[in-house]
Symmetry: C2
Subunit: 308 residues, 2 copies
């Protein structure tokens, strides 16, 4: 759906602020609690938690993260889920979200309704209330920004912690996110992330958003290289190695496991807990001199480069 | 300064993502702690607090909240401060911020540097670290969205709580925010808001951002009207009553005080604590039948209406 219309009666400009906000509250329904715990005051109040907080922000921008081919409901879902994926990547639990919209006055009311209904659906599915937000005018586009507050689990899994010799694992499949529509259909790996953070042998983790070839560098210990076996890559049907490494928007978890760990036990436990989610051991971090000839030369692949 | 340039060497598009992010970290300096407590992982980790959290989000958008006449450093300051004003309005304490930028690739590097240095200056001044963010490409504009996490004080002052007969107070001056450049030069009333939340006779509070004529409705108890005496309005020099009521972007606190309170004692305590900040008693909430002929007929004034 093209989000814009020249027919004034169908555009948000015809509603004005008061009626638009009333409509948004209707569209969100039970996804948005009453003020001061939800929309309607200067801030939203989130009851105190006991653990450290996690904070993350990601936008969706028309022409950049979605186009007219993506249903507006899926745009809202994608915005929420890509932030949930960041909480998953630290092993945390999402608690509350706020969303800020910068919108052209020509945006269609029905486009916006479907967008908010998408947000509300994800909010209910993962029990994360939408507690606040802002709508502002922006000539020429749609920029929707969601900020998510989460709670750390008993242990926060960061990107640092891997050592030379440690194993590299990835969940699900990689590549072809756009043509397969995975980029808005994916399920954020919240349960998997929380489970992995409780396993002591898992040492670091992140989500794959810009392509494994690029993102793996953030986990790589100094003085080592990731030696990834091409046969081990969980390539999505219809894709090749390049797509699996470079396409981005996989929203899978990549994590590292101690070289001393009983990886067979980890894999068995995974299969019992997540029987429908593939887990792949891709290889390990090795010193430059040990790099096997059969491993993928990652420097020949580039992940998604922003602002180019 | 016009934020855009056609000279590739001066635009952020020439930097690419890696160098841009390195530059941002340099510009932010001590305002941004190391990951996982700052930028550089999937989420930022904010240490656990004991009180309820406050959450607020507000953007600045090119052509809407700033134009080429506003120095880019002031744009960054304004973005941070208008969110701080929302925390002040609940009597809270700001703790951490994340900022998401949607930027055209033609944005000037020096514009962006000054913008981030403005953010960093406010961050240091109010001791609120910038712990994370996102930069994404957006053809045709600049949308910067800041989300602020705060901690509630011993008491959260919301917009609800006033009763018929209660007094209406406002801090500072109203009107002419744009011509006087107050809209980016203001100081968020954090100290004042926290102080007011500790006074039991103060019953409700908000910040004035869309003009008093519009915002006061949020504080008005059902079945009453705000009876505001025109002589009591703290009108900014060079403005008239209409400007004071309608201009918006005042970022002052409007609050209500119990009808039974010793207002003289409150005013004396205010003067001792904030000798340089004006405090004005504007009037009180009255039933329709009691509305005095001399009071301002607010229905003849309209505050700032978004999305029109």
């Amino acid at each position: 759906m093209n989000p814009f219309t020249d027919q004034p009666a169908h555009s948000i400009g015809s509603l004005g602020e008061q009626r638009l906000i009333a409509a948004i509250r209707r569209w969100l329904g039970t996804a948005s609690p009453e003020a001061p715990f939800g929309i309607g005051d200067d801030c939203a109040v989130v009851p105190a938690g006991r653990a450290a907080q996690l904070l993350t922000v990601d936008p969706v921008i028309h022409g950049q993260h979605f186009d007219d081919a993506v249903p507006p409901r899926a745009v809202g879902e994608k915005l929420f889920k890509r932030n949930l994926s960041d909480i998953a990547a630290m092993g945390g639990r999402p608690r509350a979200a706020v969303v800020a919209l910068a919108l052209d006055a020509h945006v269609r009311i029905d486009w916006l309704e479907a967008f908010y209904r998408g947000l509300a659906a994800v909010s209910r599915r993962f029990s994360v209330p939408l507690v606040g937000g802002d709508v502002a005018q922006h000539q020429g586009g749609i920029v929707a920004t969601l900020t998510l507050v989460g709670e750390a689990g008993p242990r926060v899994l960061t990107r640092r912690g891997a050592k030379s010799g440690d194993w590299i694992y990835v969940t699900g499949h990689l590549g072809g996110s756009l043509p397969s529509r995975h980029h808005y259909r994916f399920t954020p790996r919240l349960a998997e992330g929380a489970w992995l953070a409780r396993r002591a042998e898992v040492r670091s983790m992140m989500d794959v958003s810009d392509g494994l070839a690029k993102d793996i560098h953030s986990l790589t210990p100094q003085g080592t290289m990731p030696a990834i076996c091409p046969e081990s890559l969980p390539i999505r049907k219809g894709c090749d190695v390049r797509a699996a490494l470079c396409d981005g928007e996989d929203y899978e978890l990549v994590f590292t496991v101690s070289a001393k760990a009983d990886t067979a036990a980890l894999e068995r436990a995974w299969k019992r807990t997540f029987p429908r989610t593939r887990l792949s051991c891709l290889g390990r971090f090795v010193h430059r001199a040990e790099f096997p000839a059969s491993a993928i030369k990652l420097e020949e692949f580039h992940g998604y480069e922003h602002l180019r």
